[in-house]
Amino acid sequence: MTVASADFEPQEIFKRARARRSNQERFDRFSDGYIWVLAVLILFAYVVSASNAVLYVLQSAAANTVVLPTAVLEVVQALALLFPLLVCGVLDLLRLLGPCSISAAESTWVMTLPQRSRALLRACRRRALGLGAGAMFLTWALWYVALIASGASFDPLTLLGGSVAGLLLGALLAGLAMWAQIVGHRTTLRRTLRWVSLGYLVALGLLWLGSMAGAGHLLALMSSRLVDLWAAPGSWLLIGIFVLLGILLAVGPTRNGLERISRFELSRSGALQGSLVAALSQLDIRNFAAGLGEERPTGCKRRRGSVARLAPVPQILILSLWRSARWRPAAVLLATSVLLFLVVRGAANPLMLLLMSIVLVACVSFLLGSCARPLIAVPGLSRLLGLPQQQIRREVAYGLLAVGAPVVVVWALIAPLLGILPAGTLPWWLVACAALLPGIAAGALGYAGRPMRDWEEMLTVAGNDEAMGLWAMRQLTPLLSALVAVLPLAAVLLGLAPPALLVALVVSMLRSLPPLMRALRT
């Protein structure tokens, strides 16, 4: 086979293919991009509203707010301390996503050519920098809105300087993540970030303990300084200048380094980013969570320990919960709640307790539903296990109750142990917490059996309000089953009289018990 000497750029063929596109195809591609921008803006607006609601609850001077002696920080001060952790979080996200990526097709057809496409690598780098800048800017904007809403002074210059610094910082973080990808040290970066975050938290913890031990309000003092610092435009200007220097040093040289990243690695990152986009477009995190499995080591022998003595169904449920680390978000949520109540002034109020209960119930039923999904929704499993489908469903229901119980018990104990329950409500509080369990199990069962969202079906029924309402109800049923279970708890925390409490309890049971009983009876 003879070889020509002429240089060739694959873009030539891609341009030819693009030129073939019909007007309809061009419009479709434009509208796809436009819809994504719109979706991000809408999502951002919703997140801002939700965070403002949380801030309102955190700062509300509601009745029965308990001021714990350990609570040394105002909300605004806690937010000021949060910023470095957010930066670490964004860097970790960029590391997880690549950030450089290509599609599987580009990996197979373009990256195997001897002369790698300069245009493809340039686009890959541009996308990574854009991803970093976008992620950090949105994070910064969200944080800044929360800072202002919680009492920091607003200055248009700070907004401008912070926005620019946020964008630049994002590009720098993308550059750092790119370096880790180029030199193949993404795991090292992950460990470093974990140690840095842990070190920061330990330092804050020591300052907090120092404040408790009477060594002055060091933590409050430091966070007050930080609030002033973040509110000054000059700080962001300075950060922007340093970041710009960092970009020149760290991002510039990545231009040539991309050649060193293997196409397999780039394509894996592409698949992960694709699954994130799919998860966002489906409003269903399951797709992305499945992609994260790639990060965990596979193929090694795993011990089942005493779980091996259980029947297959509870065994699968427990191993799924343990090995996929789905228990972690619930544990983090419990720990965050305790920290908030302990450290932030005004957080220990009934409204906050109610809000955290709602979040916990929604989160736990989602996580348990994800664990139960393979047992409920995988066709042919009944034949594989040699068990009737009804028996599997019954055992799953029992398993969900057993696995959900420890979370409910811990939650029921936190408030009394911290002393933040309104006086005289302990017995009702315990009853209301017990009512959470069937709600969580019913929600998890519903979630496990819910099919993937069909947006096309939504579009077809969009013209008919009734059909649209039914579609939305079907989508939200698992969540509602779980959330109705919080009604008795809300009644207790809002200080309603016993008859109202009983009504709330009955309503909650009427919603969560029937699906659960159906599963247990079969």
Binding site: P10, F14, E106, P114, F264, C300
Partner: protein, 232 residues
């Protein structure tokens, strides 16, 4: 110093997952113009070995050398000389079948690329669908397009993972003859994971048999008989 005449050398290569080796270390040498097969039952680690060799996943220990240098696909020389076909493959949705082959041929600077593309289209019976987009192809046609892409370009080492998948009998016969011809007449090295005794017998000389944690080197005839269940 490694001899540049040796196309591929596996030096105590250990492959597996999460730092745990699946098998004992593999040491093997593939001379130019020879064909090596990798066989074994399902789940024995054949594809993992192949993926480790080409850098699609990290090796546990040891090394893989191509012409005396560590085999790294990021190396331009390796990409120019080693054709790897280990995945089911994704396709560029806007390019036609012919354009896919044009991309590879021109990217590898094949002088008369139009003729080379035409030849592969004809060889793999893809001429009728040359102007079709990948979405319009059957799974067998997609498979043929992938194989055509490995043969439309110059290569001194061909690495395939189960090339016989989803191919009809006629195409298989032509492919096996072509591989044998490339090996004998052009000195191309072949490294193939396969379950097909005919491919092993017709196009390769030696095989590595992966069995449990052990690895055995067999001649092609013996390997074929193992695949046919005639040898334990």
């Amino acid at each position: 110093m490694e001899s540049a005449d040796v196309a591929l050398r596996l030096d105590s290569l250990e492959f597996g997952y999460a730092g745990r080796a699946l098998c004992e270390p593999v040491t093997a040498v593939l001379e130019p113009g020879t064909g090596y097969g990798i066989i074994g039952s399902n789940g024995s680690g054949k594809s993992t070995l192949l993926r480790t060799m080409v850098g699609a996943q990290p090796m546990v220990a040891g090394g893989v050398y191509y012409r005396g240098e560590p085999l790294r696909e990021a190396d331009r020389m390796v990409r120019g000389q080693v054709a790897v076909q280990i995945d089911d493959g994704a396709f560029l949705e806007e390019l036609t079948v012919a354009e896919h082959l044009e991309l590879v041929a021109r990217g590898h600077r094949v002088a008369r690329w139009e003729r080379a593309v035409e030849h592969e289209l004809e060889f793999f019976a893809l001429t009728d669908v040359a102007e079709h987009l990948p979405a319009e192809l059957s799974s067998g046609q997609r498979r043929r397009l992938l194989l055509a892409s490995a043969l439309v370009r110059p290569a001194s080492l061909l690495i395939f993972d189960e090339p016989e998948q989803r191919l009809d009998y006629q195409i298989l016969q032509r492919l096996y003859n072509r591989l044998a011809e490339l090996r004998d007449a052009h000195g191309v090295g072949l490294l193939v994971v396969s379950h097909d005794p005919q491919l092993i017998r017709q196009s390769l000389q030696q095989v590595l048999l992966l069995e449990g944690r052990s690895i055995r080197a067999l001649d092609a005839e013996c390997g074929s008989r193992w695949l046919e269940g005639r040898v334990s």
